[in-house]
Symmetry: C2
Subunit: 186 residues, 2 copies
């Protein structure tokens, strides 16, 4: 029995595949115009076409302590004038909560930073597990030419603080360079 509200949740299995994920929870879609302010520049073509930059398929989990949220994110390839497509990024509202990513497809970077000013960029991809300790904000960047797909797990009560990141940004932006990627101080 799968219930987002039910108190008597039983163990359950959900399937995913390349052609359709059915996680039975929220499906969050972020289009370019929803998040264009996170990029350094704007692109009128993207504004007109308004493509999906990423989408998130959540499991049917209540946001309460003891439960674990799981999800799959698909972050599409592309750039805004050379700046790679990325997620909004967030701190957890309940700051002492970690997150674990498992890469499934594609190649990306997880940008991480603390309120004390520490910054790390960690690679994600198939056969890689990324650990984001408590207190670290995280944003994902697709640095490949295919969809970046990853699985993530975090405590369901963690909550999302997008505001701090919107105000302060991440220390570095990731651009396509002539011979790879460029880290640009924001």
């Amino acid at each position: 029995m799968i219930s987002k509200e039910g108190k008597d949740m039983k163990p359950f299995v959900v399937n995913f595949s390349d052609i359709g994920i059915d996680f039975k929870g929220n499906h969050i879609v972020r289009k370019y115009n929803d998040i264009k302010h996170i990029f350094k520049t704007t692109d009128p073509t993207l504004e007109r076409e308004n493509p999906v930059i990423y989408e998130v398929f959540e499991g049917p989990i209540q946001e309460k302590e003891g439960e674990l949220m799981f999800l799959i994110t698909i972050l599409y390839p592309g750039t805004v004038n050379g700046e790679f497509f990325m997620t909004k990024g967030h701190y957890h509202t309940v700051e002492n909560t970690a997150e674990v990513y498992l890469g499934l497809r594609g190649k990306g970077l997880i940008l991480c930073q603390t309120k004390k000013g520490e910054f790390e960029a960690v690679e994600i991809g198939p056969n890689k597990v990324v650990y984001i300790p408590p207190f670290w904000a995280h944003r994902t960047v697709n640095i490949s030419d295919e969809p970046l797909i990853f699985f993530a797990v975090y405590p369901a009560h963690a909550g999302h603080d997008y505001e701090t990141v919107e105000k302060e940004g991440f220390k570095k932006r990731i651009f396509r360079g002539d011979n790879g990627i460029l880290f640009v101080e924001q």
Copy 2:
């Protein structure tokens, strides 16, 4: 920087592959003679050869609140007189803690039960995510002819209560049947 003890843990990535997992944490190996008491019968050949039944590769995570443990388990194929190889199984000591499994290879069942007597068997395999809610004991059974490999995440402070399962067992045992698998009341 990866540190099991360090207070200033930074985000990090670890790799796994078919030929060698390097999660940098504990490597737990359970051989037949270590766990033979969990099976209904004994097998003298297995006692003599003492094969590895399963092994667990843990991430380098401190067992404290806020952190998430991650691991990969390899449960080998085989039976003890028809009873499929399985893990010991446990409740979490901190009972209000869930666990998430992602199947990577092979095919198995997660047996789950509560102290109230509820029982569920849920299939695990590639492209399947299994959710084990708080308060549910869990044991994995390999019902295929190849290694069952899965990724798991749970709160690092959860702890393992193996004793309750050793005393009470799981409600059902899984045997190889003529046309598939047999659930046998224990």
